[in-house]
């Protein structure tokens, strides 16, 4: 028994149409005789009998579409009987692959087109990575990366959409431009609401932890600070959309991975040049204004807080600051800081943005008279020209020593800082 199957006539062909049958079930057919005509999207052609026999089942009527490899008819040899369709379908395992059988005939159009079909099948990567996978496939690769088109990522950045929340509609769940355009946040919940992962559970026990020299110093100096220093706090919210975009460009062009904080260090230092009375220390007899601007940066280490110093930060580029801060932070984490690295600051910045803290107040690091507490930047709806637009906003709280810095001076300083942060081109002029 032999089967006549729908041949694959081209790369794009997935099915073909039965145009007409030259023979009907029960007719005697000779090897090489045309049995039926099929139509593909490119050509019409006759399919011929592979062997002498009787036409058995005609599986598809004229006008029907049959997928490539689908059985069109069987040809029964002498003495063979038509078998129920189920068995026909189950049979091929023991035999030659059906796709080959339809072309197993020399000097016929079936042969040449069949080989041609094989040639097409062989081209290109064996794994068709361009094939449209079902969109039910999770839109992540092996490493959890979301599949997305470059344009979709660009639009997500510009619109402040978190790509993690978008359902992709492209092949393999790829997130495409339309998905970003049509994306609506699920609820009023903030967009970056990733499911918070809890820190690991700790063993509960009663124990005494001896004070390290570092912990003693932190305690003494900060107690000194809140004790004798009359603190007050000023909070401002800055638009950092342009600063974030500048940072991306700086990173791209310089190849140096700068952080938002590196820009703030420079901005704070430049703003101090406008308000030297903030760059000062309290003394019992006099207030000292410092001739140089050294910015202390609060760095958390396993042992506790330390504030390494970027010296003359107002004279350094953002990329220089980035390199220096990274090296200081590494040293701090490895306890390699020398006193020269952490003494002599004239102003301090503490940034808890990386922890998702929106706003906090920091305690002044004496003998400084002010410290900036930087919160996380986040995309927020803002009204500009009576239109609601999404902008990145960041809250900054300045703690001031009222003995030296009065409210108006602190406010002036924050206003100057706003100019640097909201028009960040000033940072690179």
């Amino acid at each position: 028994m032999a089967e006549i199957i729908m041949p694959k006539m081209g790369d794009a062909m997935t099915e073909g149409k039965v145009v007409r049958w030259y023979k009907k079930a029960g007719d005697v057919v000779k090897k090489g005789e045309p049995v039926l005509e099929i139509e593909t999207d490119k050509v019409n052609l006759d399919l011929e009998a592979d062997q002498d026999g009787t036409l058995g089942d005609v599986a598809a009527e004229a006008g029907k579409m049959v997928e490539v490899g689908g059985v069109l008819a069987t040809i029964l040899g002498a003495g063979e009987k038509a078998q129920p369709k189920k068995e026909v379908a189950a049979a091929p395992a023991a035999e030659e692959a059906p796709a080959r059988r339809a072309i197993d005939k020399k000097d016929s159009i079936k042969h040449s087109t069949g080989e041609y079909g094989e040639a097409i099948d062989m081209k290109g990567p064996r794994i068709d990575r361009t094939a449209a996978a079902s969109s039910a496939t999770p839109a992540t690769g092996d490493n959890g990366r979301r599949r997305s088109s470059p344009l979709a990522r660009k639009m997500a950045r510009e619109l402040g959409v978190s790509i993690e929340q978008v359902q992709g509609s492209g092949p393999g769940g790829r997130i495409i431009a339309n998905d970003i355009k049509n994306f609506k946040p699920a609820s009023a919940a903030p967009q970056k609401a990733k499911a918070p992962s809890l820190p690991p559970l700790q063993q509960l026990e009663t124990k005494e932890i001896p004070l390290t020299a570092m912990r003693r110093t932190i305690a003494k100096r900060l107690a000194e600070s809140t004790g004798p220093i009359p603190h007050f706090y000023l909070t401002a919210e800055y638009d950092v959309t342009n600063l974030l975009s500048l940072r991306e460009q700086v990173n791209e062009i310089s190849g140096i991975k700068t952080s938002v904080n590196d820009f703030i260090v420079r901005a704070a230092a430049l703003a101090l040049r406008h308000h030297p009375s903030v760059n000062a220390s309290w003394g019992d007899e006099a207030i000292t204004q410092h001739g140089e601007i050294h910015i202390g940066i609060a760095v958390s280490t396993p042992e506790g807080l330390i504030t390494p110093v970027v010296r003359n930060a107002d004279q350094k580029s953002v990329t220089d600051i980035a390199n220096e801060v990274r090296s200081l932070a590494d040293k701090a984490k490895n306890r390699k800081l020398t006193p020269n690295d952490y003494q002599g600051s004239t102003f301090t910045i503490s940034n808890l943005g990386a922890w998702g803290i929106e706003q906090f107040t920091a305690i002044i690091n004496p003998p400084n008279v002010a410290i900036l507490a930087i919160g996380a930047a986040s995309a927020q709806p803002v009204v500009i020209d009576r239109q609601v637009v999404i902008r990145d906003r960041m809250k900054v709280t300045m703690s001031c020593d009222h003995r030296v810095v009065d409210g108006a001076l602190g406010a002036e300083y924050l206003r100057t800082l706003r100019s640097y942060i909201e028009q960040p081109v000033r940072l690179v002029l």
């Binding site: 490119k42 087109t113 081209k123 470059p150 509609s169 495409i176």
Partner: protein, 328 residues
Amino acid sequence: MAEKSYRDAIRDAMMEEMDRDANVLIMGEDIGVYEGTFRITAGMLKKYGPKRVIDTPIAEAGMVGTAVGMAMLGLRPIVEMMTMNFAIVAADQILNHAAKVRYFSGGQVDVPMVIRGPQGAGVQLSAQHSQTFESFYAHFPGLKVVAPATPADAKGLLKSSIRGRDPVIFLESAALYGMKGEVPDDADFTVPFGVSRIAREGSDVTIVSYSRMLQMSLIAAEKLAEEGIECEVIDLRTLRPLDLDPACDSVAKTHRCVVVQEQWKPFGAAAEIAASITENVFDELDAPVARVTGEDVPMPYARNLELLATPHEQHVIAAVKKVMYANG
């Protein structure tokens, strides 16, 4: 303006340049007495005589070598290949001599010559005579590679080729010889190299092509327009120099790109074009750049198989829908 065929536009370009400059001459197989296998050179022997319209033996390496020498000494030879497939015989003369002389002479000697002839499938000339060569020649610095899609461009680009300082590979599409179009009459009408044009404006998908495939892409674009998909079609005109600025600008607008070429897919012109577009406007792409190419087989003689092996507008339509994620 007058309506002319692609074939007549090529002949007009050569005759106008031969009238303009006595140093221009043409040589090739059966171009004189027989007036050309594709009748490109009809009437030229009669007008210019055997010193400027030279019937050669069947010796392509000799023809090109002779032309390189002529060009080095100040003539402006045009070599007609009966088909560009025969120029393979002269590959050493073209790639290692014509393309290298200026470099080797420290810029002292130019080789102003044109090697022109038909290429491509569609006229049942089988595996050896249906090939396309743009990626082959465009790989080599020192050559210019031209592939016009319209009669006007055929004329304007050929005149630029003849007047220039460089060896030019001028690839005509055998299947376009009979195509008609408006061609400027001005004897000084030329089309510069390295300036792509927008052949059709659209906003949804950018199709980049050249030569015969450009015409096919325009047909596909019209059919797609009936379904509400507007394609912008870019005609590259020259493969070396290659001007991808209009294509990149267009992709920045449409965010989707299909490149169409007749030749085989591996290492073809479409690979270079797609890679360059990806390098230049990566962030604008909403789908991978798709390629429509010929099938990866020697060209069959049989008409039905030749049709199966060459790109068809249906392939362009399918590729456009794929990059639009419109295939359901």
